[in-house]
Amino acid sequence: MASEGLSYDGCNFFRQRLVLSTLSGKRVKIKNIRSKEDDPGLREFEASFIRLLDKVTNGSRIEINQTGTVLFYQPGLLYGGSVEHECNPQRSIGYYLEALLMLGAFMKTPLKATLRGVTNDRTDPTVDLLKSTALPLMKKFGIDGEGFELKVVKRGMAPGGGGEVVFTCPVRRTIRPIQLTDPGKIKRIRGVAYSARVSPQMANRIVDSARGILNQFLPDIYIYTDHMKGANSGKSPGFGLTLVAETLNGCFLSAEMTSTPQGQGDPVLPEDLGRNCAKLLLEEVHRGGCVDSTNQSLALLLMTLGQQDVSKVLLGPLSPYTIEFLRHIRDFFQIMFKIEVQKPLEDERKGGDKVLLTGVGVGYSNINKTLK
């Protein structure tokens, strides 16, 4: 009766697999999770992720073997509702939040997730970045309205954590197709320079150095400084910068950089950080596209889950994560995207090659939502 499951090796792209499995209802088995390493099996943060998934679903079956090297996941129905989760500080909240962004709109009841842990670190997209890029992207797919927001209540830097984020997402029955083929020109750059448990001056130093680079292109730059104090500043000191470039057509490109966590590696000067982050943003602009590199997979997922209509999106070069995501989409939904490379014209100065992805939605409709 039940559909045949899929089987994968290794813990990479762990979230993708579980998320797609949940959405498609296909069982998944992941084998050889760090089986050859000294410390085999699932890590704490992955276990925490599974726990979060268990919280938002109803009736999922998760089986993990003794050593934690094999995971079997049979998805239940997405339930949503009010969820509180203590995210493991090995990874930042972005790690967990990315999955919730993908699942949020397909729940039975609107999701209100309170996630606690590290809000900003170097490995994952920070909550500030997701707030300023992923949310506007999802709005283009028709996921918006009153209860759609991401609020950073407390900031917590790696490694201690102690931050808190509230993500609320309304429920949708169907997703709109999109045609994002023209990003338009960048009209303004905004950003947040945050600092916690360090001198508030740090943020200002970051802003100055970042502006120094970006002002060559655009005068409309405003970088907010966000200095959290007291209980809202988490457990560890740190600072960082998130930059977002907004185009005329409402596309957002972003870059970010965070200081190295306390006691891990060389400390970073705020000036360097600001400069490097600005350069990262330029790099992102060079890559271009309508969706920035972090959210490519989110955009592709929502295109896949749309009605049976053609969606188009122009992306920068595909990141390895996205490439794997495309493969996974094919595995779970039997959908392939038409991939066309758009070369820049001779006299055009708009960065590198772009990729135009065209796909047809699978006609997914939210089967969790209650009919009244």
Binding site: M1, S3, C11, N12, S24, K26, N32, I33, N58, G59, E98, P125, K185, I186, K187, I213, F217, P219, K279, L280, L282, V285, H286, S293, T294, S297, Q307, Q308, D309, V310, P317, L318, S319, Y321, E324, R327, Q334, I335, M336, F337, K338, I339, V341, K343, R349, K350, G351, D353, V355, T358, G359, V360, V362, G363, Y364, S365, I367, K369, T370, L371
Partner: protein, 1175 residues
């Protein structure tokens, strides 16, 4: 009035006066106003604001009511044939009608038809006819796929249950178009009864379907067929009918199978006749896009994973879009196929069709690269066919292909001709299988040529059927012993299973490989040099089996790590190859993403330690490290150096400060505006305001004077032109002011529909299928493995096989909550936990529902039975189906019962993995010690722990005293202290009302009616209901004697004597004082009367007196009776007289009154007239 006829008075036209003026004005067209509003503005003026508002409101309401939610039009350009299902009770003329319709469209007579028949009915329409037998399974299945239902009704009998059952099934599963057809009308002798019956039936039909639904009359039979003209009319109706999309059908792909082939290895079947079968099923894809390797449900069989899907050339194509007004009647192609579906007389005729399709399959399957060519040749071949030929040729194009003959014993009874073909084809197959590698191409080409030649030959008009297949001239090698279908099919599969990485050529569609090898090579080289799309560090090796004949396997690197400034070094190189790259990168990227991922064999890097343990080392050479960090961040390792000016310049145009495109540049836009708005003439003053651009002519004043006139002219023209443009723009902006949200939405969806159509239009089907799935209208072949053997062995073409595609997660099972209502015509209510057969989505299954109803506080309370005429909730364990899907329920599928079989209908409301149905549980306890308001209660719980769980719960006594559980007592176990709002009595019983969650039994039992032996397919029986079980086993219910109803016997009530205290008695007034009612004492002896004892004489006298008085009494009674009757008669007579008298009097009075009235009138009249003249 004399004899002459009086002429009517002629109209006198007025020649003067206001009327004449008006008329004159009208005639001469002075007021050309045709608009009533303008001609008579007063009539249209606002009389009342409220009324105006009301009318406006109403008009808007009516307008809004017309709107439907607009949907994206997703109908394919070449739609699949329309499924026409012919339904009706037995012996009503279904088969005859199908035969007649086919004959009407194709001028061909078919014998007995036992499967779907597809015909071309017009230039843009094909029809698939399917007859529906009276098995309720078939009725349910066909109602789900039908586009049009021809509902046959025996007029001489009237409606039968089957008709209504089918209508109800349709209502539940989306209402297809239904057309009623009345037959057996010739059995009416009387014309009047005929008319009356027609009318009655029509109106009853209308109430079921909709008012004004079409009902057709087939009057009588001529030589066992319906009258040609009537059938023709019916056919015309069918071929112009419009259909509306049904929700379930448009959201799910489905195939009504018209052909089945068993692909199981015959050897395997021989060894184990009960082994699971692999079969390929063919049919037109309908509904929506079908994804490869998706999940499907075959109603009556079960759920299966599709092993493979291919599309095939259409066996019954629409006639080409030639400029013809009507179809040549011979162009109405017919496609029938279900093996063993035709009786002998037709077998010879039908069989070759199979081969046509078969041949197409094979050409398609053998080599993808040759697909295009093969298609062309085939199509051209079929196109060249003479219309006169098609009739025969369609039945019999013998191509030289091997056939995958089904070799199970039942169907071995093929006739000789077929065997011959088989042999030939087998030999073909053999040599195809042999020829591999380099021979393949040429071989194929040869085949193509032969195909073509064969077709051409046929088109020359020889009767091909009789002649053998053309002799094959190409290298026919020795016959091989390989299994018949081992060759082409396998390759096909390989091309699909791309990740296998065997020595098989990759399919063109899979990886974006072009068929040319050279270009491939180049592209690979390219990708080695420049980091193609992303500058990733990860060194990814991708091993690919090349398409080369030699089968060499070059490794190439797709992602190359480049040094920090490497991009600078090969800048020039890159630039020079930019063009080349442009050509190659697209397929390369596609290959990169979707290409085969060859799993590198685990390098044997495990060394043994002491022969017992193995040292395992983390691998780091695998492509996309399987255990790498899982992060969506795209950290480019080799960032560009953003300190360089040229790098900065390369992205300058991405900002608003950069250079703009021609169309959007601010400068050009401004200029345009200038031109548009630049100069204008102030119409009031006649002054011309001049724009700068044109006005800039200071220095050539001299010439200006000369050409002033010309310039004036041209300027005027220009101005006019500009004005016109301005006006246009204004109109465009403001004219569609009433464009509402609805219109916008509609337009948007229209745009989306166009995009959907246009996007993949020019992509070849092979690739297109991968992007959007197989689109409806394609003729597809689905291969399904692990089918139960009964599916093949007890295959009956009369029963439809439907492949219903399932959406994501529709293949799972879970709890469903539904709204259910017992059908009004079902004669008994349904019991909770009695198994029920549901038809939901594609499926038919048996499950155990729990009925419940929602209380006002949202609690789902379990019901023992469904309400009689009300909706209730039902929770089942069953397949996940989207909300809003309708279902129907049956109690059994077997046997023919006279009553209505559909037990209930409803809709899915909610899906959940847990249920929240509760049932009321009353815990009972008894007080054993009562204080004032506190009581000790025992008998409700057994342990202290149980009590602890219910601390604070509210309890109640039967008499309605409310209370609360306070605390457990140590002894006796389970006793507790409770407080009440009043003192209890020892006789009180204490209740605790609680709700106990009920588990839904997890029974999901798909109805496997198609697997039953032929002839018994309607005898599926699953779990029996409780009532059935009891009936079958002869168990009688033994009721609890306490529960039985008994006549109520009440003991007579006894009251104590009223006792009034002495004090009170004294105070009472005498009236109310209790009287001293002493019992009377004994009567004294002297007061008692002695009894009289008569003497014998006295006794005689008394007896005589007694007798005499009796006689006297009798006589008196008799006389009285006579008297009485006499009196009665007298009264009657008197009454009569009285009546007559009254009548007389009445008449007299009437007369009198009349006279008086007349006099009155006269008097009045005279008084009105004034002075009396006559008087």
């Amino acid at each position: 009035m004399d004899g002459k006829v009086r002429k009517p008075k002629q109209h006198q036209q007025k020649h003067s006066g206001p009327q004449a003026e008006k008329k004159k004005l009208k005639k001469h067209g002075a007021s050309t106003e045709t608009d009533e509003r303008k001609r008579n503005p007063k009539a249209f003026a606002v009389q009342s604001a409220v009324r105006m508002a009301k009318t406006f409101h109403r008009a808007q309401d009516i307008k809004a009511k017309k709107h439907h939610i607009p949907l994206v039009d997703r109908t394919p350009l070449e739609p699949p044939p329309i499924v026409v299902v012919v339904v009706g009770p037995p012996k009503v003329g279904k088969s005859t009608l199908v035969r007649c319709l086919i004959k009407n469209f194709t001028r061909q007579k078919l014998g007995e038809i036992s499967g779907p028949v597809t015909i071309v009915s017009g230039k843009k329409r094909r029809l698939t006819f399917m007859e529906c037998n009276n098995d309720i399974n078939t009725m349910i299945d066909l109602a789900k796929v039908a586009d049009l239902v021809l509902m046959l009704i025996d007029a001489s009998f009237g409606f039968e249950m089957e008709t209504f059952e089918f209508l109800n099934i349709c209502q539940v599963h989306g209402f297809p178009r239904i057309m009623g057809v009345l037959t057996h009308l010739d059995s009416f002798k009387n014309n009047k009864t005929l008319r009356k019956t027609k009318k009655n039936l029509k109106h009853r039909f209308w109430t079921e379907v909709y008012q004004g639904a079409k009902l057709f009359y087939l009057s009588g039979m001529v030589y066992g067929e319906y009258q040609t003209q009537e059938v023709k009319n019916l056919g015309r109706f069918i071929s112009v009918m419009k259909f509306r999309p049904l929700v379930w059908q448009t959201s799910h792909p489905y195939v009504l199978v018209d052909r089945m082939e068993d692909l199981t290895d015959p050897e395997k079947v021989r060894i184990d006749p009960k082994c699971d079968r692999t079969a390929s099923l063919y049919g037109y894809l309908r509904g929506t896009h079908l994804k490869n390797k998706g999940q499907i449900h075959i109603p009556g069989v079960g759920d299966f994973q599709v092993k493979d899907v291919n599309f095939l050339p259409d066996p019954c194509p629409l006639p080409d879009a030639q400029k013809k007004r009507a179809l040549n009647e011979k162009e109405h192609a017919v496609y029938i196929d279900l093996p063993a579906s035709h009786v002998n007389q037709l077998q010879a005729e039908m069989q070759p069709t199979t081969e046509l399709v078969q041949s197409l399959i094979d050409t398609h399957a053998t080599l993808d690269a040759k697909m295009a060519a093969s298609k062309v040749s085939l199509f051209s071949g079929s196109a060249t066919l003479d219309p006169t030929d098609i009739k025969q040729a369609l039945w019999d194009p013998k191509t030289q292909r091997e056939r995958r003959k089904v070799l199970f014993a039942e169907e071995m009874k093929d006739d000789d001709e077929e065997d011959d073909e088989d042999e030939e084809e087998e030999s073909e197959g053999g040599d195809e299988g042999e020829s591999s590698g380099e021979d393949d191409l040429s071989e194929e080409e040869d085949n193509e040529e032969d195909c073509l030649s064969a077709f051409l030959k046929k088109s020359r008009g020889d009767s091909v059927k009789a002649s053998g297949p053309p002799v094959k001239k190409s290298k026919v090698e020795a016959e091989s012993e390989r299994p018949v279908f081992a060759d082409s099919e396998d390759e096909l599969e390989m091309s699909e299973h791309e990740s296998e990485g065997k020595d098989q050529p990759l399919g063109a569609g899979d990886s974006g490989h072009c068929s040319e090898d050279e270009s491939d090579e180049e592209s690979e080289d390219e990708s080695e040099e420049g980091c193609l799309m992303s500058n990733t560090v990860t060194k990814q090796k991708e091993e690919e089996e090349d398409e080369d004949e030699e089968g060499r396997t070059p490794c190439f690197i797709l992602f190359v790590s480049t040094g920090a400034l490497k991009w600078k070094e090969n800048l020039q190189l890159k630039a020079s190859q930019a063009f080349l790259r442009q050509q190659e990168s697209a397929p390369n990227l596609r290959k990169l993403v979707y290409g085969s991922v060859v799993e590198v064999e685990d390098d044997e890097d495990e060394e043994e330690l002491g022969g017992l343990f193995r040292v395992s080392r983390p691998q780091n050479n695998k492509r996309f490290q399987a255990n790498d960090l899982d992060s969506s961040h795209f950290h480019p390792d080799t960032t560009h150096n953003w300190d360089l000016e040229e790098m900065l310049n390369s992205i300058r145009d991405c900002f608003v400060t950069g250079k703009w495109e021609e169309g959007q540049d601010a400068a050009t836009l401004l200029k345009e505006d200038e031109e548009l708005y630049g100069d204008f003439e102030d119409l009031e003053t006649g002054e011309v305001q001049k724009g700068q651009a044109i006005d800039d002519d200071g220095d050539n004043e001299v010439e200006q004077s000369e050409v002033k006139m010309d310039e004036e002219e041209s300027r005027k023209n220009k101005r006019l032109e500009k004005k016109r443009r301005l006006k246009e723009r204004f109109n465009a902006e403001y004219d569609d002011g009433d464009a509402t949200y609805f219109d916008d939405l509609k337009e948007e969806l229209q745009k989306q529909a166009e995009l959907n159509r246009a996007e993949f239009e020019d992509v070849d089907d092979e690739t297109r299928v991968q992007y959007e799935g197989f689109r409806p209208g394609m003729y597809v072949r689905l291969e399904i493995s692990s089918l139960p053997c009964e599916f093949v062995t007890s295959f009956d073409p009369h029963y439809p096989i439907i492949l219903g595609g399932l959406g994501s997660s529709e293949g799972n099972v879970g709890y469903l909550q539904m709204r259910l209502k017992k059908h009004r015509w079902h004669d008994r209510i349904l019991k909770t936990r009695d198994p029920l057969i549901l038809s939901l989505g594609w499926r038919r299954f048996q499950t155990i529902p729990l009925y419940h109803i929602e209380d006002h506080n949202g609690r789902h309370r379990l019901l023992k039975y469904t309400p009689l005429h009300m909706h209730c909730g039902a929770s089942i364990w069953g397949p996940i189906t989207p909300q809003g899907t309708g279902f129907l329920a049956l109690q059994s599928l077997t046997g023919i019962k006279p009553n209505f079989r559909i037990a209930a209908t409803g809709v899915v409301l909610d899906l959940d993995k847990s249920v929240t149905v509760v049932k009321k549980l009353k815990l009972i306890g008894y007080p054993y010690k009562i204080f004032k308001n506190t009581s000790f209660i025992k008998g409700m719980f057994n342990t202290v722990l149980e009590v602890a769980k219910f601390e604070g719960a509210s309890v109640r006594t039967v008499s309605g005293i409310r209370g609360q559980i306070k605390k457990a007592l140590s002894t006796p176990p389970g006793a507790y202290r409770a407080t009440f709002e009043d003192r209890l009595l020892m006789s009180d019983i204490v209740f605790l009302r609680s709700w106990f969650p009920v588990a839904v039994p997890q029974l999901y039992n798909p109805v496997t009616s198609l697997l039953l032996p032929i002839g018994q397919k309607d005898s599926w029986s699953g779990m029996r209901t409780l009532g059935q079980l009891k009936h079958d086993l002869g168990i009688r219910y033994k009721p609890n004697s306490d529960s039985l109803y008994k006549p109520i016997t009440r003991a007579p009530r006894r009251f104590n004597k009223l006792h009034i205290p002495k004090e009170l008695q004294k105070a009472l007034p005498f009236k109310n004082k209790p009287k001293q009612q002493q019992p009377k004492g004994k009567t004294s002896r002297d007061l008692q009367r002695p009894s009289v004892i008569r003497e014998p004489h006295e006794r005689k006298v008394a007896a005589l007196l007694q007798a005499l008085s009796t006689v006297h009494n009798y006589n008196r009674k008799k006389t009285h009776m006579v008297q009485h009757s006499k009196h009665k008669e007298f009264l009657k007579e008197k009454g009569k007289q009285e009546d007559a008298k009254l009548k007389r009097q009445k008449e007299a009075r009437k007369k009198l009154y009349r006279v008086m009235g007349q006099m009155d009138q006269k008097k009045q009249r005279s008084s009105l007239k004034g002075a009396p003249q006559d008087d």
